[in-house]
Amino acid sequence: MKWIPWILILPVVLIRGFTTLYPIFATFKNSLFDIKVLSGVHEFVGLSNYVNVFKDQKIITSISFTLLFVVVSMVFHIVLGVCLALILNMKFKGRRFLRTIVLIPWAMPAVVVGMAAKWGFNNDYGLINDLIRRFVSDFQFNWLINTGSARAAVIIMDLWKDLPFFAILVLSGLQFISGDIYEAAKVDGANGVQSFFRITLPLITKNVITLCIPFTLWRLTTFDLVYAMTSGGPGEDTSLIAYRITMEAFTNLNVGYASTLAVMLFAVMALFSWFNIRVMNKIES
């Protein structure tokens, strides 16, 4: 009877092991080699791939945009996400409709969002400039051609897709707060703003911090959106690190270097998670 549980879990462990264990060791190993598939190079170079990362302007651009993307996107997620959650939590007819449609961006494939955004931000035929022109005639602006605006456009689309989902998860935290607390505050003479800052915000803070962990990790690994929307351009200005790694691995076929970047991304994610678990434990106790 002792082997019964092992038989039950064997399939999932085998499949998950097959798709993660071997490949991750191989990535670690490859990161110490110079492997260029096109020119047939395959030689041991030790840690020099890791050293090269810090001399590579392309990668520095990628890393800096990834950091900007994560930080700006998460700040907006938190601020606007809490606002949207409060709107969704209001009592009015049509609330259910609103809660249903906020799921649509979450359920849409990022690649479709990216393709639509690529066109939507087009100067001549795009949805965005068309709407702006209805208020400001003769408005001309090439969003995806300038560094700043292309980066802004990528962040806007990321928010469009994921912020409603963040808000739903904040909403689930809001719903645990019992109405009695607000009633009591009202009796004590607190107005809406006071009860938001004194009651709502402190009670959902832990919930919001917990949510920030997976949302930050997902931002660090965003690939589809820039693949479809900007192809990392203009230049390398919007090539998020996950996109850069994939391009090195599958388009430039510079496998050793791609593995190095992958290992570094993985290390950052692991460190971030470890740090977060520490912080969460501190908050709990």
Binding site: V12, A116, Y125
Partner: protein, 284 residues
């Protein structure tokens, strides 16, 4: 009297404010989706016209016809249904089995196995992609249905196991004990007592995994070539030689074909999706 009038005006403003917020959120979410739809039924000539015609004068289904006749739409839909269907079937069976074992049997080995499954959630696909790609080619699974299905199943395992284990943990063991006193064997207990009770959780997980699988882009893009699914087809539409290189009419039609089942699904299963999201914090 004056006070109650003031209060009524105040209430009115609050209600109006709520409705304005409601309308803004609904507009921001729905308008782009609507725009993709009307673009897909606008004739290509009128597509590159400014200002945009939000109620097209000459709606046409030409883009859809083109996708069916020249881009092999039905083959891609068939591939998608086949891969997603088999993935859901197999992943549900093996994940339910594992979830049951993880919730009922305690030993050091088993908790390590569970921690392993959950920890692998942390490994991004870009880290494992290249070696896995070479491995798949070596063993002849590259660009095959079994290969893709294995990768799709693998992608949904951690979330599915986590949710089903939490759910199975809440089913009282006394029910099983009662059944075994009545002489039920292990398999009878599993299939006649536990699994029927897990049906709601299984349904929720399947609904969310269905959306996750439809949205999977990385796997079919890099682990297949001949076998095309819908999510990849949208970036592989034939380019045009004219000034409007990217065929926006076809892209929006393909986009709408991908979105339609997803939107219907979200509308129908809103409650189950919400429950699943709340229980596990998913990401498609």
């Amino acid at each position: 009297m004056n006070d109650s009038k003031k209060y009524r005006v105040y209430r009115g403003c609050v209600t109006a404010g709520r409705w304005i917020l409601f309308a803004v959120v609904a507009f921001l979410i729905l308008f782009p989706v609507y725009w993709i739809f009307i673009s897909s039924i606008t004739p290509p000539g009128e597509l590159f016209k400014m200002p945009i015609d939000y109620l097209p004068d000459n709606p046409t289904l030409d883009s859809y016809k083109f996708l069916i006749e020249n881009v092999g739409l039905f083959a891609k839909i068939g591939n998608t249904i086949l891969i997603v269907g088999i993935t859901l079937l197999i992943s549900t069976v093996i994940c339910s089995m594992a979830a049951y074992a993880f919730s009922r049997f305690q030993s050091k080995g088993i908790s390590i196995a569970f921690a392993f499954i959950i920890a692998t959630m942390l490994i991004p696909e870009v880290v494992t992609a290249r070696p896995l790609y070479e491995f798949m080619q070596k063993v002849g699974l590259y660009d095959t249905y079994p290969g893709l299905i294995i990768l799709y199943i693998s992608a949904v395992i951690p979330f599915t196991v986590l949710i089903l284990r939490n759910f199975a943990g809440e089913i009282p063991i006394s029910l099983e004990e009662a059944a075994s006193i009545d002489g039920a064997t292990f398999t009878q207990r599993l299939f006649q007592v536990v699994l029927p009770l897990m049906k709601p959780a299984i349904a929720t997980v399947c609904i969310i995994n269905f959306i996750t699988c439809l949205n999977n882009f990385f796997t079919p893009l890099y682990y297949s070539n001949g076998i095309q699914v819908l999510s990849v087809a949208i970036v592989q539409l034939p380019l045009r030689d004219n000034m409007y290189g990217v065929p926006w009419d076809l892209v929006s039609a393909m986009g709408w074909i991908i979105l339609l089942p997803i939107i219907i699904f979200v509308a129908v299963f809103e409650k189950q999706i919400m429950d699943g999201i709340m229980a596990g914090g998913v990401k498609a």
